[in-house]
């Protein structure tokens, strides 16, 4: 056991921090510092800068443009990138479709998609959930019928994040409606979003943003060569993908960034005639979050270190702990920022409102804090709800 970071890991953290400081475009940094999310263009710009340094591939092997990092280095990078704060890598590209193709893809699929995914030349989205298939994902109904050298897809997906930005979608479809078990009739397809028959309709979420969509498939033709893994074996691919998704899902750096931003704001706002930062209740609340963040940090390193030791393979059921505790923290830290903003959390400082005032970073940050608070109510819902994670723990760890 050596429970400290190695000198190499400490040096690596410094290298990452310095690179981000020196290369993150100032306009993106300023905007995110105020609590705004990055635009599509911001995300593309930053991911390309990282990819030029061969840092975008995270866990991908070097031959496919990955940095060849250990899992611990990967976590250090993610944490530093979130704390900066900088736009996060497209998780659809980097932690979902990339590892899926590396594990299950044909050589042709890898050649065609991996370099473009790393560079965000293709923006991917995830076609999993359906109106009737949320937590019970295996009940999905979107059908794909084989017709010569292509499938014909009909059905509907929902909660499809950034489908309106996307060039490609990885899609779970039912290829055998008569399978003995529902899980055995599912396949995994790669779909060009420009294919005729695809309609994307926006869903505006409670933070007022357009992030989610409904996607309709009406006789959409998908070449058989764009199926990943065997027909009716798509559930294996989906399970692999969701396991990967959980390990990066704790987003500890984001929680830390929100706490730091709240402390910063608490120095500038008053409570009963003194800065909020002096309020004992506020300080206790931050202290409790520090405790929870530290516990999550170490649990996370335990999970990734075990993953490194095992040379990859199946994700640790402990990753469900990361999902639950990580998202609870994300929600608690974004909630803290909103509470610090106080009454100034309520106005929506749209462009025209801001134009009427002197630029005021405090007011803008106060308003923006609500955006991530509202948006991250989804954190305990996406990637398998926290209740589903507890079901996974019940089965995998407790054996019930």
């Amino acid at each position: 056991m050596d429970l400290r970071f190695t000198p190499e890991e400490i040096a690596f953290r410094q290298e990452v921090r310095a690179f981000i400081r020196d290369n993150l475009p100032a306009d993106i940094h300023a905007k995110m510092k105020l609590g705004h999310g990055p635009s599509k263009e911001d995300t593309v710009r930053w991911q390309r800068i990282l990819n030029a340094k061969a840092w975008a591939g995270l866990s991908w092997p070097k031959q496919w443009g990955g940095p060849g990092w250990t899992a611990i280095q990967k976590m250090i990078f993610l944490e530093e990138n979130q704390m900066a704060p900088a736009p996060e890598l497209s998780s659809f590209n980097i932690t979902m479709i990339g590892p899926v193709l590396l594990q299950f893809g044909t050589e042709e699929q890898k050649q065609r998609f991996l370099p473009r995914a790393a560079n965000l030349d293709d923006w991917w989205c995830q076609g999993f959930s359906e109106p009737g298939a949320g937590s019970d994902l295996a009940s999905l109904k979107t059908a794909a019928k084989l017709d010569g050298d292509h499938y014909v897809v009909n059905g509907q997906k929902i909660w499809t994040s950034t489908a309106h930005h996307a060039d490609w979608c990885f899609l779970l479809v039912r290829t055998n409606p008569n399978a003995r078990k529902r899980q055995e009739g599912i396949s995994f397809l790669l779909v060009d979003m420009k294919t005729p028959g695809i309609t994307v309709r926006p869903i505006i979420s409670i933070d007022g943003s357009h992030h989610l969509n409904e996607v309709f498939f009406d006789d959409v033709k998908v070449p058989v060569s764009l199926r990943v893994h065997e027909e009716n074996k798509g559930w294996d691919v989906a399970k692999f993908l969701l396991g990967n998704e959980r390990t990066g899902i704790a987003r500890l750096g984001k929680s830390r960034e929100r706490v730091d931003a709240s402390i910063d704001m608490a120095r500038k706002v008053n409570m009963n005639g003194q800065p909020l930062i002096a309020d004992p209740a506020f300080r206790q609340r931050v202290a409790q979050l520090q405790v929870d963040m530290k516990a999550l940090e170490i649990t996370q390193y335990r999970v990734v270190s075990a993953y490194d030791k095992a040379g990859g393979g199946r994700p640790d059921p402990l990753s469900s702990v990361l999902k639950v505790k990580g998202t609870e923290l994300l929600q608690a830290t974004t909630e803290l920022a909103v509470d610090v903003a106080g009454p100034m959390a309520t106005p929506i400082w749209a462009a025209e409102l801001a134009a009427m005032n002197e630029p005021d970073d405090m007011l803008e940050a106060s308003s923006a804090s609500v955006g991530s608070y509202l948006f991250l109510r989804a954190a305990s819902i996406y990637g398998g709800t926290n209740e589903i994670q507890k079901n996974i723990l019940t089965k995998a760890v407790l054996g019930l």
């Binding site: 402390i263 405790v291 530290k294 999550l296 649990t299 505790k325 079901n391 019940t394 407790l398």
Partner: protein, 375 residues
């Protein structure tokens, strides 16, 4: 970072676990409790045979050169069966004091005797008015020729009743709350002027109130500079009891899981109900988050950066304490009525966790300390 125990550590854990499996069933433990000293002297001898009593001491003092990690593994195993013997008091707390502050002569006299199982010590620091404040010491020591005479009272001294020697803090200069002017002394428990009144604590271990009246003491460490040593003792204690709490949580979670599979209500094992399953998942998560914090405490013992070390110990004490409280309360709740009985093990784990939470400062105390750092 590497969280896997080494082969040697694995062997240590195996031999400790085997010893406890053979000698520390809940029924056997009851017979140890019934002894006047409240633990088993034979077990203490077996710990010595296995080398546990010299585990953290250097080889030249009859020890095995282990460190905080080895203590963590042993304490976790002890926590799983609620070991009653004064390992924490003698080896962890007083052992740390002697290691950190003892003169060569004191080390040569004391450490081999401790390692062989022939000498037990207790750490007599807390005073009734002090709550968790380490600097709140009003017991005094006055120089008398070449020696020192101590006056004052110490309270809830773990295993103070059965110790051969005490390590006592006393003020040699300054006022109550002063950081300077506290000195540690070795005091023979049987010396004139030492009176001990023993009692049981809620976890069934024994503690004592100790009054000192012109009791002779031998200085341990530098005169007036005892606080730094006391902090090291307390930190070692926090790390060790954090590990003990993990062992206790594991045991409670295993018991509760087993119970959920066997207890049938409405025609089904209660573990088939999702509300019970999710509670068990929450208990498991608390255990694992607590384990991470116990590891933090262990890795902080030798951290030379004072500010970071204190901060991390505070984080760990809060995290482990809260986890232990949650798991204890949930374990009793999930057991229903049987969990309330003295005859069943779970309540005993509950009470040990409750006592540990209050050793060296509780979560509220350390949360306050963390809160004070913010800004």
């Amino acid at each position: 970072m590497d969280f896997e125990p080494s082969d040697e550590q694995r062997l240590l854990l195996e031999s400790v676990s085997r010893l406890l499996a053979d000698n520390y069933s809940f029924a056997q433990r009851k017979t140890y409790l019934a002894r006047p000293e409240g633990f088993s002297s034979e077990m203490w001898g077996k710990f010595a045979e296995l080398g546990l009593l010299g585990l953290p001491f250097a080889e030249q003092y009859g020890g095995f050169g282990g460190g905080a990690q080895e203590i963590m593994l042993v304490m976790q195993a002890f926590g799983r069966v609620l070991v009653l013997e004064p390992f924490l008091s003698t080896i962890v707390l007083c052992g740390t004091a002697i290691k950190v502050a003892g003169s060569e002569a004191q080390k040569i006299t004391l450490l081999p005797a401790i390692a062989e199982g022939g000498r037990k010590l207790a750490f007599a620091h807390s005073e009734r008015q002090a709550r968790y404040d380490l600097t709140d010491v009003v017991t005094t020591a006055k120089q008398n020729g070449s020696g020192w005479l101590l006056d004052g009272s110490k309270t809830v001294v773990s295993h103070g009743e059965t110790a051969d020697q005490l390590i006592v803090s006393a003020r040699t200069a300054g006022e109550r709350y002063d950081e300077d002017g506290i000195t540690l002394f070795l005091v023979d428990a049987a010396a004139p002027g030492v009176a001990r009144r023993g009692y049981a604590t809620r976890d069934e271990t024994r503690a004592a109130d100790i009054s000192l009246s012109n009791a002779h003491g031998e200085v341990l460490g530098e005169v007036g500079k005892g606080l730094a040593i006391i902090e090291k003792i307390v930190e070692a204690g926090i790390a060790a009891t954090a590990a003990e709490t993990i062992g206790a949580m594991e045991a409670m979670n295993e018991m509760t899981l087993e119970y959920s599979k066997t207890r049938v209500q409405f025609g089904q094992p209660i573990g088939s109900y999702q509300v019970v399953q999710h509670r068990l998942s929450d208990m498991f998560m608390a255990q694992e988050q607590g384990r991470s914090m116990a590891m933090l405490a262990t890795m902080s013992v030798d951290n030379p950066d004072d500010a970071e070390r204190r901060h991390d110990f505070a984080l760990a004490k809060v995290g482990v304490g809260q986890a232990g409280r949650y798991v204890s309360q949930s374990a009793v709740q999930m057991h229903g009525g049987i969990g309330m009985t003295e005859e069943y093990a779970v309540g005993h784990y509950f009470r040990r966790c409750m006592v540990i939470e209050r050793l060296f400062g509780d979560p509220a105390y350390y949360l306050q300390r963390l809160a004070n750092e913010i800004g």
